[in-house]
Symmetry: C2
Subunit: 348 residues, 2 copies
């Protein structure tokens, strides 16, 4: 039985090349059927060149419009009614597919997903989560990394619940350690938001380890780290910026003399292993948590490997039953589920 996943074929900067190659790799290695969403004639022509078997599990859905990377999310969502994002997310809503993956405009993807899928009851705001490499055995989940700029304590409380469920159900961590991102370990350290959130997180039925610091994003001390979307986005992008600097400095240092170049050639395999450990493309994009359905948002610079991993994560997400668990965890038990899910403060 194949898991159906919709893929925005015109999301990434180099689209649709990485999407088509990533989809083919996913169909070969994973129990998935990929629904490519985009300009049908162009996509069919590109697939034809690949000489795939007749029963190869890729199908194409037409979408006439593409949302560009520089477009304003609010306007694009309103005006482009036949965008690949909207068509793909509708496939999730009508249960044709179990999840949606895009490497396109993050803001537009978040806005479209909120509009088309809607939020789970009890969720005030969805959160964009990302998996970071760590010296521990499994990646650390950081959320929110940009969906919500100014947050209230109850938002961080919901992010903690959602992140913990993601770590447990999708990453299979038995008892995820949940930390609150701050600037000191003591409860009293931090800003107004973290100090107020601390008590809420401590009262949750999960393994809350208290405040953690920026360095804990990468040292395996926590499995889930919660913060507002401004701080999370700055921390994530600063880390990406430093990783890029490290790569370019290392390349420059190694190329500066023939002996170093020989050494680098001999150690090539080690460099590749090193790169792979730190490479975001291995982590499969950022899941948008709190929606009625699985939506994974990748980097604009995604290559085929990143797309493949996005599809893998979407399939794992869909299979995990995490949406039902979130609904159960975040819906106040005493009152019936609020069907718009937008204004309920969870009674956790």
């Amino acid at each position: 039985m194949l898991i159906d996943i919709a893929l925005d074929a015109v999301g990434s900067d180099q689209a649709p090349g990485p999407e088509i190659r990533g989809a083919i790799e996913a169909c070969r290695k994973l129990p998935v059927r990929v629904h490519l969403v985009g300009p049908e004639a162009e996509l069919r022509a590109m697939l034809k060149k690949r000489h795939l078997p007749a029963d190869f599990p890729i199908v194409v859905h037409h979408a006439s419009e593409r949302i560009g990377m520089e477009e304003k999310a609010a306007i694009a969502v309103r005006t482009k009614r036949d965008s690949s994002m909207r068509v793909g997310l509708k496939l999730v809503r009508e249960k044709t597919v179990a999840g949606f993956v895009t490497a396109g405009n993050t803001g537009a993807a978040m806005a479209t997903a909120k509009m088309v899928l809607g939020m789970l009851p009890g969720v005030d705001r969805p959160a964009l989560a990302t998996a970071l490499p760590s010296s521990g055995e499994s990646p650390c989940i950081l959320l929110d990394v940009g969906a919500n700029v100014d947050c209230k304590p109850h938002n961080l409380e919901q992010f903690a619940v959602m992140g913990e469920l993601y770590s447990r159900n999708v990453l299979k961590i038995a008892k995820p350690r949940v930390g609150l991102l701050s600037i000191g370990e003591e409860e009293t350290k931090g800003n107004d938001l973290t100090r107020e959130s601390f008590a809420l997180l401590r009262a949750l039925p999960l393994n809350f380890i208290g405040n953690v610091e920026g360095r804990d994003l990468f040292n395996g001390h926590a499995d889930v780290i919660v913060c507002d979307g401004f701080v999370g986005n700055v921390a994530l992008k600063a880390s990406e910026g430093l990783a890029k600097l490290v790569r370019s400095e290392l390349r420059q240092a190694m190329g500066s003399n023939p002996l170093y170049m020989l050494g680098a050639f001999l150690s090539k395999g080690a460099f590749n292993n090193f790169r792979k450990r730190l490479d975001y493309t291995e982590y499969g994009g950022a899941p948008l948590l709190g929606l009625r359905g699985a939506c994974i948002i990748g980097h604009g610079s995604s290559n085929a490997r990143a797309i493949y991993n996005g599809i893998r994560v979407a399939a794992e997400f869909a299979q995990s039953g995490i949406s039902q668990e979130m609904k159960d965890a975040l819906t106040p038990p005493a009152t019936p589920a609020n069907s718009d899910g937008n204004t309920t403060v969870p009674a956790l």
Copy 2:
């Protein structure tokens, strides 16, 4: 003519070893006289073992108390009246020395410096600034990285003025590009604080380049980046955490097979150059800006090289005349300077 710099001899985790070695190196290479502050008998005994010439420019000032890394700043400052930090900063206040360097407890150093030196007129809060490695030619100054947790727009405005003066006077950047750390380039992107601060920064008589993102900390797009102390501290520590992970992963990858080890041996010089480019010890600690005097705060894990660079930066800071420039830039021209400097909102 030597520049007199006071050095907390019992600041770093490994003190006083790194302090003594760093001070000796500084006295050999720089036009400085170092005033070691700490337990006099112990320091004299250690210096004696070095067989320095009689006229070697190191002097010792006795301080009977040491503030530990885990001590609460507020309590330590109040109770340890003969701490090495307090004695060293008093030497600055009474103009025996031109600046003070410590690798001790950051919170205690900031609190002691505020108390002993006082703030420049027009400065509401001092800011801790740090120099980050970048792919550009000179380091990028990030401030505040932890002195002020919840900031108001006028605090960020003052940080911009102080950071720009530091970049221009100490790092000798002719026309520093000043950016506001946010999560999108457009003026409307960001949180409440950055959106309100944007207009204030744009009105300043300096080269404001608008919002920058986390990745811009390391790509040379800006010379000075302004943010509140919570965000700056998280970004800095996340970057330090990632750098540590990179080093350990690279070491592990290189050690995993004899061929890689040979390659790494041949490329050793390149690795050293690479490390040096990214090594915080080359950047000489974090200046605390906005005080009546130069105070440089280093990492607890500082080695002798980091101490040496801290002394170098303190001397450059003291020589630059930046304190006078800050006073001129931040004092409202129409009213007389407010001598406590604590509550004046600058009319920039």
